[in-house]
Amino acid sequence: MTTHQLKKQLSSLRSIKPDASWQKQQKEMLLNIVREEAMSQPVLSWSTRIENAGTAFETFFANSFKVMATHSVSAILLVLVVLSGSAGYVVSAAENSLPGDSLYKVKTAVETARLKLTTSPQSKVALEVEFAARRLDEVTALTKMGGGNSLKVAELVSRFETDLTKVAFTAKELSVSSPSSGVEVAKIVDARLGNYIYVLKNTSKTTDNSDLSRRVDKALIAVNKAETEGLKVIVNSDTPSDENVVNKLDVKIKNAEDNLKLAEARFKGGAKGAIEAHQSLEEAKKKMDAGDLKTAITIIAQVEDIVYKLNEVVIPEEEVNGEVLGDVSKEPVKDEVKSDVDISIGLENVGAPDSNK
């Protein structure tokens, strides 16, 4: 028997059916049970019935308008139409969607629309912080699903990094134009950072995809930079710094020391200026003990930048003109680099060890 004949025979097995009278009898019995139970239970509230209809509408909507939902502009228009038509349950249905779902474009279009419609800078940053957190929620959800979602997770992590960098920049600008608003925004950002770090580190632990690991590392750097900028804003404001800020600065100094040691260990014969960087961190500790948090945080920020530069030197082919060149894991990583990078230039003017002492 050929495969074609076999498939034909198999499809003829579709003629196997339950006995018609049995089926009818069973249906009646089941419907009686259904009717009895339906009558014995409380009437559904209108809100529940609307929720039921909304769920069905989402399924119908997602199937019928799948093509429209794939185009961002159309999705924005669609969102506006749906919102003005007070069919907001579609939007709320989209809130739990993930990259790859048909309603995900609606979700991101709604986020864009909300940002455009928000005028106050504080509210904008608060929204951006919330949306960045959503990207990480999506990362968590996709990571849990497993099975070939590494690419989507990697893209989400990169998007998170971009969004957070924007947030940190906005917070910094705001601290100049409106210091009190800047502090408020810095605190909003600071409140979320712990959760960001937790999700990113968890993602890093659960993957063996080198591209994703690299992106997570970059995102962690963005979180660290955002924290440093936020602390700068808080410390430089007129509001007195609480113990929490002091604790965070202590932790940052410790982390900067550890990261500096790790970074310089990759250089044959050590990195130029590493000793000065270590000494600067000692200086930062002294400034903190003296209550001069402003100088302390400035020194910490400079040392952190040095560490980032050192780590960039180790993988020099990663980025050109902002474009990622492809899978870095396939390119040989240069483990040992001649220590011709002078990192001490980052330590000019502020907190540099006093050579006269």
């Binding site: 498939k7 198999l10 003829s12 097995l13 339950p18 089941l30 009717r35 039921n52």
Partner: protein
């Protein structure tokens, strides 16, 4: 589906009309007798109604849901039968479902046809292959739909259905050779 969640009995009736024959057929190829297939089909729809009433989790794809439920019910059915029996039932009896009773008139009638030969060979396949063939070539579901039902990737389903067809062809040769000997 929303009418189902709205406790509309007619909606349940429509779903039953649409899916009962398919679920029956799906179970039929997994169990020994028609009566078992009937009982388990009824159980599938009873449990579906219970699940809808509990409202713990929304059913996003009724098709995938009802087939998965049917699978679980058949597995539970064989497990409880194994526990009830005094003698140990070997594991392969859960997977190599015996052919419908040779003494049934129906079996005698269909034995004469090619369809019967195919059915016999189908019953000798391992569960995974039989299921793939039933869903793909008897029920006519797409690879994507089967992937949803079996909670596998499309690639895995494609590979399984291909291997299943090859296995069925080999089994057919064995069955036909056995019939010829008789």
């Amino acid at each position: 589906m929303y009418r189902l969640y709205d406790r509309d009995p007619e909606a349940f009736g429509e779903l039953y009309d649409n899916y009962a024959p398919r679920i029956y057929r799906y179970i039929y190829f997994k169990v020994a007798t028609r009566s078992e297939a009937e009982d388990l089909t009824a159980e599938v729809f009873l449990k579906t109604w219970e699940y809808v009433q509990k409202r713990e989790k929304r059913i996003t794809s009724f098709q995938a849901f009802v087939y998965r439920l049917a699978r679980n019910i058949v597995v539970d059915h064989y497990r409880s039968r194994a526990q009830q029996n005094e003698h140990n039932i070997e594991d392969d009896k859960l997977t190599n479902i015996p052919v419908p009773s040779e003494n049934s008139i129906e079996e005698i009638l269909i034995r004469e046809t090619d369809m019967a030969t195919v059915q016999k060979a189908l019953q000798k396949l391992k569960e995974e292959y039989r299921e793939a063939i039933v869903l793909r070539y008897i029920e006519g579901y797409s690879i994507g739909e089967i992937a949803k039902i079996l909670e596998k990737s499309k690639g895995a389903v494609r590979v399984t259905t291909h291997r299943a067809v090859e296995a069925l062809k080999n089994e057919l040769e064995t069955v036909e050779a056995t019939i010829q000997k008789k």
